[in-house]
Symmetry: C2
Subunit: 517 residues, 2 copies
């Protein structure tokens, strides 16, 4: 719309996955074109093109009238040096916005529609408002199986894709993933060394915590380096059969990475979006075989067996059409797994299980053995039903510990692991009773407020679990924090509502998952 040339300026504001252009209110382009705050604009410089949302600025110290300010995200994405000439035009709406509107109106979208939407999302052409509209619309008019398949394919299509078989030779590349929502559920750190010890390749990449008090990458980081270049990872997997690294998902599924930036604040995680998000990242990461953990419980992400089974079938259908071998397992999600919640405390639980320590949490041990057994049964030489026994033998014999130590050493052992937080507060039972409820969400929240995962030693250490009897004044759990501000806030939240419910033995909720492993 205008030939006017502006000078690029980097504006040090982190707009979190949204490209923002800052123009001064007196900028001639703004005045002539009648750009308004939140208009979409097209930035062109040095042959590069960027779509951004406009913020109007009244302070020449941020951008002058002849400058084009770019947020950190926008600046990085455009990749042109400060001071370079740029022009700015009114942006046509992204071509897929018509498809977005059809979805908002309740229509089914086809393969090409979803490809166009995902390409525009990955290219950062959607504003936060449009992203939120897509997330809510696909949450409400549930995506059908074909739509989920096409969304998943489209997400794979815009990202980078790893192929371990080229590097490591043929045969399965196994993985294990949980849909999330259960604090302390660090089974990956046991499954990987067990199946690696069995000789399967398991190049596990994990995320850091988004809304939880610890992701697998945060917990592993207590023990070893996790930010490793791809080539190092390949060497480590060749040497040890496994790794436990941070995934850096932005490369593998850039559209998902952007969608998460609005799903997280909205706390929306619809089945279709969950399936597309998880399967796109697993396939992009080069997995051929996946065991999927779907916990079900009153405060888990999935809250009834029918819902869990619908989700399982959706995962199975889409995985099968994408050629991924999937074994989806519905598990007990009534309460946190293990004792610790927070990176350091969870790493302690994991190491106790590997060391066959008498204090090792048995629920974490049992669940990990069962999941590892299911992975081992992907081995064509293992008979159905034999996996669990093989996994248990590997763990009991110390071979899993040896495998874990090899992986830790290969990734780079941390000389001095961070200590547990030394500000301690015991949350006590207000009365005699049996533990009849532990709210996963509340415990996760309290652990986060105590500082986890940014403060690795912060979190919650559970003393009693479902079905156990306590006397008034017995500790339910212990808070660990490092900073006074976190500590007092977390204590206050725990005192308002500890997340524990006490009652009588007959009130303990039964395990939903009846499936045997």
């Amino acid at each position: 719309m205008n030939g006017d040339t502006l000078s690029i300026r980097r504006v040090g504001i982190d707009t979190w996955r949204e490209s923002v252009a800052f123009l001064h209110r007196e900028c001639p382009v703004v005045r002539a074109a009648g750009f308004q705050a939140l208009s979409k604009v097209k930035v062109q410089a040095n042959g590069q093109v960027l779509f951004a949302v406009l913020n109007v600025v009244d302070d020449a110290a941020i951008v002058g009238p002849l400058e084009l300010g770019l947020s950190e995200d926008a600046f990085t994405r455009l990749g042109v040096a400060p001071g370079h000439a740029a022009r700015i035009d009114q942006a046509e709406p992204p071509s897929s916005i018509a498809a977005l509107h059809r979805k908002i109106a309740g229509e089914r979208l086809g393969r090409e529609d979803l490809r166009a939407v995902v390409q525009d999302i990955a290219a950062a052409r959607y504003s936060k408002i449009e992203l939120a509209a897509f997330v809510v619309a696909t949450n409400q008019f549930e995506l059908d199986r074909d739509e989920v398949l096409h969304l998943t394919e489209a997400m794979i299509g815009v990202g980078r894709r790893l192929d371990w078989r080229a590097e490591l030779g043929g045969g399965p590349v196994v993985d294990k993933h949980c849909i999330g929502g259960i604090p302390g559920n660090r089974t990956s750190m046991l499954v990987v060394p067990i199946v690696a010890a069995h000789g399967m390749r398991c190049p596990k990449t994990s995320s850091r915590a988004i809304t939880s008090p610890a992701g697998t990458a945060d917990t592993m980081e207590v023990l070893a380096e996790v930010e490793l270049p791809l080539q190092r990872l390949q060497e480590i997997v060749r040497a040890t059969h496994g790794c436990l690294a941070w995934g850096g998902t932005a490369d593998l599924s850039p559209a998902d990475d952007i969608l998460i930036s609005v799903e997280r604040p909205l706390a929306i995680d619809s089945p279709g979006q969950m399936v597309a998000s998880i399967l796109s990242k697993k396939i992009a990461a080069g997995s051929t075989h996946l065991v999927l953990d779907i916990p079900v419980g009153p405060t888990a992400k999935v809250r009834s067996m029918p819902a869990a089974q619908r989700l399982k079938r959706l995962f199975e259908v889409v995985a099968s059409r994408l050629g991924l071998q999937l074994d989806a397992v519905i598990t007990d999600g009534r309460e946190p797994i293990g004792r610790g919640i927070g990176p350091v405390l969870e790493a302690r639980d994991v190491m106790q299980v590997l060391q066959n320590h008498p204090d090792a949490p048995q629920d974490l041990r049992q669940k990990s053995l069962r999941l590892a057994g299911r992975v081992i049964e992907f081995d064509p030489d293992v008979r159905g039903g034999e996996g669990y026994r093989i996994a248990r033998d590997i763990l009991d014999s110390g071979r899993a510990l040896a495998s874990m130590n090899a992986i830790i050493d290969a990734q780079g052992r941390r000389a001095v692991p961070p200590p547990p937080g030394d500000k301690l507060f015991d949350v006590l039972a207000p009365s005699d009773g049996v533990v009849v409820g532990i709210d996963n969400l509340r415990l996760a929240r309290i652990a986060r407020l105590s500082g986890a995962p940014q403060v690795p030693g912060a979190g919650v250490d559970l003393r009693v679990k479902l079905g156990q009897a306590v006397k008034a004044g017995d500790p339910l759990y212990r808070l660990h924090a490092r900073f006074e501000a976190d500590f007092s806030f977390a204590c206050r939240m725990a005192q308002q509502d500890s997340g524990y419910r006490l009652g009588s033995a007959d009130q303990v909720p039964r395990e939903f998952a009846t499936e045997t492993f």
Copy 2:
């Protein structure tokens, strides 16, 4: 969460109805609390409280590590001077977010739910993402009549409410409103002087254009001052019975004003939101009787008679439960009304009708007379069916013109009205034929690109309307612009697609609205 005290700094960025807090990445509060970009934070200073979305800044020239930067919106809302101490805490989510999630999940919301949502929206506690989620969710799971009523009541409840009767004595306070979408539809500027000349009180407040090339306030501003304090308006209405002023909707319906900031970029205008938005503003503005114009046509907001009738009934039900006398009229929305599109050109049309000028556009005259007649029939002394004749007598006798001149003088006549844009381009018929379609959206878009409403003289002047025959090379319409950049862009868009369709006489779409006035 933290007692840490920061110093307030005004950051001159216009975030358009969203309160944004800028904190430096090295700010101790950010580090200790693990705030992330887009976290919601609670700002407290000098007894005031503000909720804001956090942006993390890496440039100390924007905010230093011990400063709390506030966007223009946030700064104005908080109302505390720069340099004042402030503390910042993690914000609890707004209490109504649970209701938002229930709406996203498809549930009905009750009166208290909607009141809580609207209060949180009006208090700027919702992020743009949450606003978009609310707008999409209420668009998809259509609000039922009770929900629309409760949403409307809640919107009225959070705003300021005018009561003209206290100022002007008893009797009806009449108003006329159109749901929008039809370019050139400036009937208010004729209805107000006609009904004022009849002796009814019509304190009309209008909006400026949001997505259209001209709002009534923009067009009236060509002739007179429109930004008038309330007390002046009351004096003007006492003296002339009418006014045509800018409404400054933010005061009357602050929640609506904020919702529009996401409805506009999403182009969502669902029936429930439309009814709540319009009726809340009319009731807040003190109207007791309202004639509502619902145009229907292939490129109007409402595209079928069944949809128009559903919308009409929804307006009627909600208005009746709120004690507003409503007469909703379904009108012909197949094409723009009058000739001009853009403030100066529309003002010319209006004045030609008032002056009984031989060139006056007859469609604008007829529609205005019919709507004015319906308003006049709110007068208990007027018999049903007599309104149109009374309105026509007032217009033909010159009393409407005299009434308009009195209003213009009272508001403050503009000595030198802005001229029509002098960069001219005639869009020509590509072939012989009859005009069988004029796309309201396309014409509005082209008029906007030519500079309207920011450039009052810019816009489009239609030469032929539906059903008229043209020869190849005859002008369809003339573009007016002031600035070269606007001009060339608008010409290009008009050449790509003029918005006119030519065909044969039998292809002219029939008028949908069969209702007689």
